[in-house]
Amino acid sequence: MRTPFFLVICLAVAAVVFFAAVAVGNDYAFFAGYVILQYVVLSTAWNILGGYCGYVNFGSAAFFALGAYSTVAVYKLIGNNDLPDVVPMPALMLVGGVISGVVGLGMGYLTLRLRGAFFAIATLALAVVLQTLVVNWDFVGGSRGAYILRSETVPLIGPYIHYLFLVMLLLAVAALVIARLIERSRLGYGFATIRDDEMAAEASGVPTLRLKLVATTISGALMGMAGAPFPYYIGYLQPASTFGLDYAVNSIAMPLIGGTTSWVGPLIGTILLGSLQQIATVTISSAVNLLLVGVILVVFVIVAPNGIIGLVHHYWQHKPGDFVGRRRVEADSPEAVP
């Protein structure tokens, strides 16, 4: 499927989702949907580095919070409480994305020359360093947190939460299209060689460090963009919850549960796990929903190492001449016949 066509389909699905949410008529659908869409972006972004390159990032919360706090910084610098929307949301997302992307690049430059585990640990460390900086930085609220006022309604769209939902929906579409584009490009093949055997890739002339830096930058930038609207969603931003480990665990669990080799995996994982969490939060408690994520993650990595996609593939491969099997061969053929 060509990318423009895919984009059109995605936008059509997004339009259906938006109008379905409007049709539900309950704003809770938007609040819950926003969280799930935010995780679609986060898990897709995580997967660009984690799934395609095989480098585990435990610091999703750090990149997400960077985006959120860059919004707060811009709000304090330019905006004021009488004019909450003086800077448009897309501009805020751009700022958040650029900042997170640059931090991702620097982070990758420091650690990616080492073994994978060091990168994972360093990302964990990055989250704490950034949290300490934010806690000690009074301009963005410090440990007290920061309040963001938002206008009640947005012209043409209606209530503000509808606008936020729409923005996040479009970002999710963008993230999926980017992930799919990478997957099918030279870049994606380069990433796959790094994941499968970095030493061999390096020996064959793949510029592994440069590719990994591209991956951390794109992944970080997308996470930052997902974080940028968050202060407007939550209204009161506070370091401990913005840097919370639940962002890190969810953005790892969702791709791993769905399957990491393709853009579909994080989407499936997020929709399943995200909805499950929303339901569990409402019906049981938010502590139980984290326990649920932990248990599902452990069970999946042990029982279904390639996630739901892996299970589906496994099922299809026992039926010769199927659609998935044929498409795989097609996708692989340019590599097989150089």
């Binding site: 640990i121 665990v249 502590a287 326990l291 248990v295 190492p305």
Partner: protein
């Protein structure tokens, strides 16, 4: 800011003492991550588990927390051996340990922490022991016993482990398995068994470290997260798998943290170890005493 020599000396001493405790926290990681190459990021969760065991026994039976932790080490050893067995069967044997293994331990971290939250709540818990209150004074130097005693026991523990690793057959086999598992197999030793024992020992140290932790400070389930980065910073800074390196690095980080919180305020202290970690990774990834 008024610079005071007494303050400086006291900060350095308390840094060394707390460093002794950090060494106990890190030694398990040093065994699993440094020697066995198992990235057990759930280690701090097991330490918190150790703290809660010490808390339960102390509050119901009134037994000394350190004594309790020594008594329950076999249970932690078995737990560690079991976890390694699952890890081996699910990941190491299939050669998928890098990413899925990490996710596995991350999941374990979450399960342990949230289970503790659900069962005990997020209240801070503490233990009672005769040495928690008093402080020894040497001239202008203060040494609170609640930090001094964990430090001494921790150094003893690491000394014993170092003896075990260098003098006993099992210990040498553990060092060997990290270098060449195939050669070990040729010597008719089962590398999986050796790794199982080593991982069991590494989790067993978490029991002691947990008791130290709850003696030094009140504990609630998410306290462990503060230690994730710190222990890896110490492990990497000391040089992977070197126990003397762990002690030196732990004291170094202890001193720097203590100086930072004395002269700049405690809210900056967490960034120190992580800054150190990033710096070490960038400048000298082999660590101080790296092989």
């Amino acid at each position: 800011m008024i610079f005071s020599f007494d303050l400086l000396v006291n900060a350095v001493i308390s840094g060394i003492l707390i460093g002794g405790f950090y060494a106990a926290v890190t030694v398990g990681i040093s065994l699993s991550f440094g020697i066995l190459d198992i990235v057990n990021i759930a280690h701090p969760a097991f330490i918190i588990l150790g703290s809660y065991v010490a808390y339960i026994v102390n509050s119901t039976l009134g037994i000394d927390p350190i004594l309790t932790s020594i008594i329950v080490t076999p249970a932690f050893f078995v737990l560690g051996a079991l976890i390694y067995q699952v890890y081996y069967l699910s990941f190491e044997r299939r050669g998928q340990e890098s990413m899925r293994g990490l996710a596995f331990f991350f999941g374990l971290l979450f399960i342990t922490e949230v289970s503790l939250v659900l069962y005990f709540g997020v209240d801070y818990r503490y233990v009672e022991a005769p040495y928690i209150g008093p402080t020894w004074h040497f001239g202008t130097i203060d040494a609170p016993l609640r930090i001094l005693i964990p430090c001494v026991v921790s150094l003893l523990l690491i000394g014993c482990l170092q003896l075990l690793l260098t003098r006993s057959f099992i210990g040498r086999a553990i060092m060997a398995v990290s270098q060449d598992a195939l050669a070990l197999r040729l010597m008719a030793v089962d590398p999986v068994r050796i790794k199982r024992i080593a991982f069991g020992i590494s989790i067993a140290t978490a029991s002691l470290a947990g008791a130290f932790l709850i003696i030094i400070q009140p504990v609630e389930p998410s306290v462990g997260r503060d230690y994730i980065g710190r222990v890896f910073a110490i492990c990497v800074l000391g040089g992977m798998g070197s126990l003397p390196g762990v002690v030196i690095a732990a004291m170094l980080i202890g001193i720097v943290e203590s100086l930072t919180s004395t002269f700049y305020g405690p809210s900056w202290a967490p960034a120190v170890s992580f800054g150190f970690l990033l710096l070490t990774l960038a400048v000298r990834p082999a660590g101080l005493l790296g092989r």
